[in-house]
């Protein structure tokens, strides 16, 4: 802007010459200049107002938009534990009838924040009085350590201890909530449930992690916060489990056994109604795994899924079933049972003298090793291997227990003719009682494969067909004969419930090679009621002996069979099975 002088000389001289007051020129110029300044100021003010209006509009628009979005968005529930990433929540485990097997309880943890402590030494001494096993001097040192702000005292305290600690009146001693896993039934179904331990620990919560059994297998499902209110239902029946464990423990005591196992399984759905392994433990106070010695002697060892045993004569059922299935024999075909039978440098003999010839039925009923080996020869090694493979006997048996995952049956991979002969009567193939239960279920249920499970199933899972309906029916009649006339006839007959099955007494392998003379694993596997098999059982006892009828008896017929009979007589009414009269059983079995 060019600035014009207020009194330009040329115009002043002009005005003077014309006789006009020159100060009018100055006023005029001043007026013009003020107008210029005023216009510039107004323009700037207008811009400011516009800018402010836009700014306010944008601000209110933003707030309005936010309010609109809040009003339109769905209501979000505020988190119960805001800012707490560790959760101790865990779903309950129930049995098939909804009875509690495992649950969470809220208890307290005790810790100290040293900055609030008034007298650390006194607090340590008072705590020592509540917890006698506490190292008072060490705790006092920790509580008075100036570099330390926080100290755990106990991860879990009882309500009485919590009150006593509170009564010390020390502001630095604080109680935090702490979930605890509780197994209200104690040792019952301990091997199935497994146990838990604390994972990550925080002040207000500690993560509970499964370390064994169903707690480990279902860890993701049980610790899922979305499913914390949805219980996990197992196939076990608490009352049945209690009876089975009681009878098994009684049997182990009476027959001086080292241990034993029992499986009771639905023959159609594969649901395991009861699974017991003795000795057992309390999952509330799970013992530490043994670091030395044989892990199989530990109470933590689940014999039903971890124990690999040569199960002995119970395997004869499969040889006979295959011979029937292949059409090689009928139940009445005569088999050469002269013993001892020599094959290479091996010698196969029977426990007691057998007639020179027996029917196939009698081979099973009297449990002839020689007769079964002859059947195996007729079947052929490859065929036998494929048949056992179709039952799943050569692979780990999948079940919801992490312990079973790497338990692979042991056998000679070459599967020579002598292997096939020994396997036919239960030596040379080590597998678990669970394998056997699944196999027996297939034999008696009409011939379809069964997948054992510990989870409750709502509908039967029919597997692929392994043997024909007809073979299954013939096998049922033979297995019934074992109890009425054969190796289990002494103690096997339960009142009103037609048990059928096969005994097995297998010499235990000596770790130094060969077999022990006087140590056996006795097994009784079968099903009841044989008129229409609903449940399959496998009971084993480790090194049972009883002095009866003038000598020490170890065979299954003297040891396991009476235990099974007791078990069936107790359990069958609880399973809702009506007892049948002897005439009724005979009639139903003869009809087939």
């Amino acid at each position: 802007m060019t600035r014009t002088p207020l009194r330009p000389l040329a115009r002043v001289l002009d005005a003077r010459s014309q006789g006009v007051n020159p100060s009018g020129i100055e006023r005029e110029n001043l007026r013009l200049r003020r107008e210029q300044v005023r216009d510039a100021g107004r323009r700037r003010a207008e811009w400011r107002i516009l800018f402010l209006a836009v700014a306010f509009f944008a601000g209110y628009a933003a707030i309005g938009a936010k309010m609109g979005m809040l009003a339109a968005s769905p209501v979000a529930e505020p988190e119960a534990y805001a800012g707490e990433s560790i959760s101790g929540e865990r779903a309950d485990v129930l049995d098939r009838n909804g009875r509690l097997l495992a649950t969470n309880l809220v208890t307290h943890s005790l810790y100290a924040e040293t900055r609030y402590l008034v007298d650390g030494v006194r607090a340590a001494h008072e705590l020592g009085r509540i917890f006698p096993d506490l190292d008072v001097d060490r705790l006092a040192a920790r509580l008075t350590d100036p570099d330390r702000r926080f100290a755990w005292i106990r991860a879990r305290v009882s309500p009485e201890q919590a009150q006593a600690a509170h009564d010390i009146g020390e502001p630095g001693l604080l109680l935090g909530p702490r979930d605890m896993r509780l197994y209200p039934n104690g040792t019952l179904a301990a091997h199935v449930l497994g146990g838990t331990t604390y994972g990550e620990q925080g002040v207000t919560a500690a993560e509970i992690e499964g370390i064994a059994g169903i707690e480990l297998a279902g860890d993701d499902r049980l610790s899922d916060p979305d499913l914390a209110d949805v219980s996990l239902s197992l196939s076990l029946d608490l009352s049945i489990q209690a009876v089975v464990e009681e009878v098994l423990a009684g049997g182990i005591q009476v027959y001086n056994a080292n241990g034993g196992s029992a499986i009771l399984m639905d023959a159609y759905t594969g649901e395991i109604v009861s699974m017991a392994s003795a000795p057992t433990f309390d999952p509330n106070d799970r013992p530490a795994p043994a670091l030395s010695g044989d892990p199989a002697d530990s109470p933590l060892f689940n014999r039903t899924v971890q124990g690999l045993y040569e199960l002995g004569s119970v395997m004869k059922v499969f040889a006979v079933a295959q011979a029937l299935e292949m059409g090689l024999v009928t139940p009445d075909t005569m088999v050469d049972t002269r013993g001892p039978m020599r094959f290479g440098r091996h010698r196969i003999s029977d426990m007691h003298r057998m007639p020179a010839q027996m029917t196939v039925t009698d081979v099973l009923v009297e449990s002839s090793n020689v007769g079964t080996a002859r059947l195996a020869q007729m079947i052929g090694a490859e065929q036998q291997r494929a048949f056992l493979q179709s039952f799943g006997f050569l692979d780990p048996m999948p079940i919801e227990l992490p312990e079973s995952r790497n338990v692979r049956p042991q056998y000679d991979p070459r599967w020579s003719e002598i292997t096939s002969m020994t396997v036919s009567y239960g030596h040379g193939l080590s597998m678990t009682p669970l394998h056997l239960a699944a196999g027996y279920a297939t034999i008696v249920n009409g011939g379809t494969r069964v997948q054992p499970t510990l989870l409750r199933r709502t509908n039967p899972a029919l597997g692929e067909r392994v043997i024909s309906e007809r073979t299954s029916r013939q096998m049922r009649a033979m297995m019934r004969r074992v109890v009425t006339d054969g190796t289990a006839s002494m103690f096997g007959e339960a009142e009103g419930y037609a048990i059928g099955g096969k005994t097995g007494t297998a010499d235990k392998p000596n770790p130094q090679g060969g077999y022990y003379e006087d140590r056996v694993v006795a097994t009784f596997a079968g099903a009841f009621p044989m008129t229409d098999p609903r449940y399959v059982f496998v009971v084993t006892m480790d090194e049972p002996t009883v002095f009866a009828a003038g000598q020490n008896r170890r065979t299954a017929g003297w040891t396991v069979v009476p235990v099974v009979r007791e078990m069936v007589e107790r359990v069958a009414p609880m399973l809702g099975l009506r007892p049948q009269g002897a005439a009724e059983i005979d009639a139903m079995l003869r009809l087939r």
């Binding site: 505020p78 009875r99 509690l100 809220v106 039934n185 009414p573 009506r578």
Partner: protein, 105 residues
């Protein structure tokens, strides 16, 4: 005219402010109620868990068995047995009335 408009606007603003404040207070009260209820539900749930655990603990089969043995003289409880099942013939049928339907009509 203009003065009336300004007055009305001022009263409107004041009224809206009171309403907004009221809503704010109500919301906060409701939220705090929800928090309290949630805490109460949690504590009741915990109490329920304790009760259920205790119920399961008191009804554990070992204890019931021991109690049944202890009180056998009074209660006479023993294991369930197959012969306790009845036959359908054992169930007495209701006595067939001697009267004919015509009489009752």
């Amino acid at each position: 005219m203009r003065a009336v408009f300004y007055m009305l606007a001022a009263f409107g603003v004041i009224g809206l402010a009171i309403w907004a404040y009221d809503q704010n207070q109500k919301t906060q009260t409701a939220l705090s109620d929800v928090r309290d209820l949630r805490a109460e539900i949690r504590s009741l749930n915990e109490a329920l868990d304790v009760q259920q655990a205790e119920w399961a603990y008191l009804n554990r089969p070992q204890r019931l068995r021991a109690l049944a043995v202890l009180n056998f003289e009074r209660l006479g409880l023993g294991p369930m047995e197959g012969r306790q099942f009845g036959q359908i013939e054992d169930v007495p049928y209701p006595q067939i009335l001697a009267s004919t339907p015509e009489d009752t009509l």
